[in-house]
Amino acid sequence: MNSAMAPGMTPVATPFFFYLLSGMAILSGLLVITRRNAVHSALALIVTLLSVSGLYFMLYAPFVAGVQIIVYAGGIMVLFLFVIMLVNLERVIRERQFNRMWPVGLAAACALLALFLSVFEKGKSLFDRASVPLSDKFGPENTQQVGIMLYGNYMFAFEIASLLLLVAILGAVIMTKKRI
């Protein structure tokens, strides 16, 4: 693809893997919103997340891919499964799955998709252009570069993110505790 790239980063059979991963992502995304059983949805979502993580690898963003696997698939989804088991109600599975407003929601979503597609159509020339040659930021040094960015340009945002996590922890504990 690009000769300036670091060795070892060359993906093989790019189109094949792209279509495989994105197909898996979209298909299991479809499963997420259609399954009756929330556990099945969660498992489908895990497949989506892992496929998206594979797409990150193909976009030379290994750090984001790793974070995606460790935080999303390993952490958040375990949390989801845990909660689904706690609130496991047979009743919910038997009941109606979609709310009464579903045609409106579907129509709105379709309109959104149409909007996207029209934007893509209009901006085709913009998005279709060849990517800039890869700098070493996308090579083996990616993690280091992202780290330098996080602690340099985005220092303040990083601290706020950690504060956000702290608040989230406290909130979750207070919310779920029976007696405080």
Partner: protein, 428 residues
């Protein structure tokens, strides 16, 4: 032929060099190898545990029960495949596969030697921790899909346990990664290869670095990894006396054996992380203290000598076996096994000596590769033995105590070690 030879003499792992043929060959070798090692571990665990417990363990199938794992495998494969009526069939079917995949995927970044790995990733250790943490999904879904109380409690226990110990584990790993940033070029790395090379460059295994900081981080990891793989004394998810068998209570036959395969594969994987991060990966002991061509040659002989020693032990078994007619087949079998081991050892020694005297590149790289893999696996084997030893010695923790150890003991200590390591690293 050229394609096959293309890899020898390369200074990179096949994945990094873009050598797809060899990457595939490595994947195949590693997967088959791990499966074989797991089967052997099964035999070893039963044998070693038996000797801890004044028993002799399996003795009937093959000489000294050597064929026991194959008999077990045959039994498990031919058992009736039971899926409970009320179970969620699809998820029940998928759960062991998830666990197994998570355990096996990790192996693609484990560096058995500087070039003996499938590939090397920029985010190697992050990838390993992430993928191995996916194993919990298999356990949780297994517990849920069984639709039964004991598996459900086991699954809830294990998810809480693995998530909490991952924190301490991750922090211990970070303190090792901090040490890599003390290289001469001043940049750290997450790559598994890079971590071993950093130890090579700094001339010290990280377990001894900033004594005792490296040691404490290593110990925290060593405790957390036992918890992470659900082994005694942290085997609460499958606590036999409390939850009958925990999350795999309803599993039998092939699916159950997949869980076992996944568990042992995960044990080997976490041991490999520990070896890579703190024990110098593929490096032989005392590369600085006992340097020189003579010492190099001496340590290069070890792989062959080990196999010859094992063959000798097996031959001792032949000699000590009762001479009754009944044992004749066993004696012959064991003797063949001993000869095979000794022959393998002889071959390895021949390669080593050949590499010492000949100038052929291919022999030298083969010999070096054997030594690397040997030292790596030897260190991993020590951990495997420790796993069995723990199991024989200690009672099981209770759930709240387990959480207490994880959050109130390991986490603060690992945080402290991390901070002190950072400060010490900055001063030096």
């Amino acid at each position: 032929m050229n394609a096959l030879m293309s890899y020898f003499g390369s200074k990179q792992t096949p994945g990094v060099a873009g050598n797809q043929l060899w990457a595939l060959i490595y994947i195949f070798i590693i997967f088959a190898g791990v499966a074989v090692i797991v089967i052997c571990m099964n035999w070893l665990e039963r044998k070693v545990l038996a000797h801890f417990q004044v028993r002799i363990g399996p003795m009937r199938v093959g000489p000294h029960g050597l064929l026991q794992p194959f008999a077990d495998a045959l039994k498990l494969l031919t058992k009736e495949d039971i899926i409970p009526q009320e179970a969620d069939k699809v998820v029940f079917w998928m759960a062991p596969v998830i666990g197994l995949l998570a355990a096996f995927t990790v192996y693609i970044v484990i560096p058995f030697g500087p070039t003996q790995a499938v590939t090397d990733m920029n985010i190697g250790i992050l990838f390993m921790l992430g993928v191995s943490s996916l194993g919990v999904l298999g356990i949780v879904t297994a517990g849920w899909a069984s639709n039964s109380h004991y598996p459900l409690i086991g699954a809830l226990r294990s998810s809480a346990q693995m998530v909490s110990y991952e924190v301490a584990m991750g922090l211990a790993v970070v303190s090792a990664i901090l040490m890599t940033s003390l290289n001469r070029d001043g940049t750290g790395t997450l790559s598994m290869l890079g971590i071993v090379q950093a130890q090579q460059q700094q001339g010290i295994w990280f377990i001894f670095k900033f004594f005792p900081l490296g040691l404490i981080a290593f110990l925290i990891f060593a405790i957390a990894m036992v918890a992470e793989t659900n082994r005694a004394p942290f085997d609460l998810p499958e606590a036999e006396s409390e939850l009958t068998a925990g999350f795999h209570t309803e599993y039998s036959g092939l699916r159950w054996s997949l869980f076992m395969l996944g568990e042992y594969a995960a044990m080997i994987a976490v041991s490999a992380i520990a070896v890579t991060l703190w024990l110098g990966g593929w490096m032989r002991p005392f590369p600085n203290g006992l340097a020189g061509a003579g010492w190099d040659f001496f340590f290069a002989l070890w792989p062959g000598l080990t196999f010859i020693g094992l063959g000798g032990l097996a031959f001792l078994g032949v000699v000590r076996m009762p001479s009754a007619q009944f044992f004749k087949i066993q004696r012959v079998g064991l003797a063949i096994f001993a000869l095979a081991l000794a022959g393998l050892g002889g071959l390895l020694i021949a390669i080593t000596i050949g590499a010492h005297y000949s100038q052929r590149n291919i022999i030298a790289s083969t010999s070096a590769g054997i030594a690397y893999v040997y030292w790596f696996l030897l260190k991993v084997a020590v951990f495997m033995y420790l796993f069995i030893w723990y199991r024989a010695t200690w009672p099981r923790y209770r759930f709240d105590q387990l959480m207490k150890v994880g959050w109130k003991v390991l986490l603060p200590i690992s945080l402290g070690v991390l901070i002190v390591t950072a400060i010490v690293g900055m001063i030096l």
